[in-house]
Symmetry: C2
Subunit: 403 residues, 2 copies
Amino acid sequence: MRICVLGGDGYCGWATALYLSSKGHEVAIVDNFLRRQWDHELGVQTLTPIQPLAQRLAAWQELSGHAIELFVGDVTDYEFLASALESFRPSAVVHFAEQRAAPYSMIDRKHAVFTQVNNVVGTLNLLFAIREILPDCHLVKLGTMGEYGTPNIDIEEGYIKIEHNGRSDVLPFPKQPGSFYHLSKVHDSHNIAFTCKIWGLRATDLNQGVVYGTVTEECAQDEALINRFDYDDVFGTVLNRFCAQAAVGHPLTVYGKGGQTRGFLDIRDTVRCIEIACLNPANPGEFRVFNQFTEQFSVLELAHMVQAAGRQLGMRVEIDHLDSPRVEAQDHYYNAKHSKLIDLGLQPHYLSDALLDSLMNIAIRYQDRVDAAQFLPQVKWREARNQRTRRNASAAVALSEPR
Amino acid sequence: MRICVLGGDGYCGWATALYLSSKGHEVAIVDNFLRRQWDHELGVQTLTPIQPLAQRLAAWQELSGHAIELFVGDVTDYEFLASALESFRPSAVVHFAEQRAAPYSMIDRKHAVFTQVNNVVGTLNLLFAIREILPDCHLVKLGTMGEYGTPNIDIEEGYIKIEHNGRSDVLPFPKQPGSFYHLSKVHDSHNIAFTCKIWGLRATDLNQGVVYGTVTEECAQDEALINRFDYDDVFGTVLNRFCAQAAVGHPLTVYGKGGQTRGFLDIRDTVRCIEIACLNPANPGEFRVFNQFTEQFSVLELAHMVQAAGRQLGMRVEIDHLDSPRVEAQDHYYNAKHSKLIDLGLQPHYLSDALLDSLMNIAIRYQDRVDAAQFLPQVKWREARNQRTRRNASAAVALSEPR
């Protein structure tokens, strides 16, 4: 089928675009390279040496024989977005094109406002473009498990049946997001649900857990296709950071007690989940929600797993508990349902198998590129102004000397 | 106490500013006159001939001896907003400064995006300004009963205890808003709740019902102080429109069956609710939600009440059922709790008493200013582009001839 991947130059987007292309779908990428710009702003870079998109796409075409079409522009620019959809005419649009880092949204007011405006306006534009140009096109939207927060009851997939004063209804699951970024995804979910109702759009909201790993079958085929591996304090996800830390003998930086429990998944499952959603579209008017993760762990459990993996490789891995920069429960109930994608055929990769092959090996292979100044959290939730860029610059100088 | 009223030149804002001033509070108004601009854009005007704000404020000072301070600017401009708060240093900020009409937000993409960006960014700016300048200042935020939609269970005040799979938690009441405007208020509520949690801000979200009436004790003291009375299809509220229609012998325009049930309140209760919230502030870190309405009616019930009131005045009032321009349930369960403001001392005005004195009398007094072309709905929820301005212009020509 014809699938348009918005944000196809990013971490999940690139892996998804290649996977869909390898499966024989006609794929187009829409991207404005903002993700690469943020690396420059923060003075960080991916552990893996990723190539410019033009070279990535050329390498993929040479290797696979499949061309991926490219539209360069910003989804907050309606005329651009509409013209791209008009030109490519996809059956499904996969929307990754948002600012996706909680710490980035918490730097200060400008970053909070940017994150919410960028994400909300991009999604509103997409909803209007689908309505006006391709009303039958299926929207596959990346949400986050963080929309739910950590309620003291089981988390269902999008909706919950509530019995109250002798009556009952099935209602959207209450949302308690934990950053201005997570809030932007909650705003999106509400906006999308509304347009499914009034315009009969078909949409799937994938409330994704924390993604780990970088190696998919496609990305592994050539050095030019390698995917991002972010381990910094802003865009890095926790498991990637722990592996980078283990690789260079830096203690794993657990925030607080480490009892924070979340859903996780391998990037090889992300790409498969996206295809499953595309191949099984929501019905017209349906706002469908899947919880997209495969296992749940506490942060401390992850640290212990990385410690054990390091031991197998003869490495000594220590664990540090830092004051948490976030405002979040460090010890809480967590039980989130995630059966809908399994029911549609997802066969999960489990972390116990992937840790050595798909994470530690990458971290060790590129250990010379690790910048330890990127490990420590600099953005504090309780502050309204974090000097992320300046403090990082001086921290980098201070920390680079002892190495 | 020192109270800053954002949007103090608007319908609820003006009545509130005068009421608070009359009670001896030190009041400042922040406004950028966008509300007046929208009248020009849509080619409509308030039934009552309101005066420019400078003249309103001069008249109030002369009459009452109380000065109201004025800051002219836009709350989406952070530097302006911060300087106004820095200068006035209020104990409470009452935030009415949002685009508040559902039909306006549904005109087209630009109006939808404008409404959400304007409302969300203004509130984000205010949250950051309070955090940075006056962290103990109490935010009194105008939300809407429309955030809840029409669930098949009782609507609680902000939170609901949910029992699920043998566990329980008190969670935010699920939201099912019915327009891009109502969605913007849901976004605001989530953003405010989060900042109460991370920064310890104190906030009260007033989920207000549909307001009716224009006469408060203060506004009635002088013609120069008269408040807005909007009856047009975009900014007009339903009861005001019905009264204007009755006054000129136009059938009451009920959308669909008229079984749509909502909470309503008299503007004299709006102003009192605001003072009650200010005098009884939320605790630091508390995100408190009050449902601010006094009675619930279906639209058809309101039409029958206006019909009966007209009969008392010797007028013959007919009722028309139009195709609803909205996408909403026309026959549904509705039972919304609203005891918290009563518990704090609110003594409601009831519609049965107010209809003749505070609504019909105003409509009849200004009946020569009624423009019947403003009555009919032109913004349809199922359309992504409504030509509101152009269609209004031709409709005005067409409809003005038979009169």
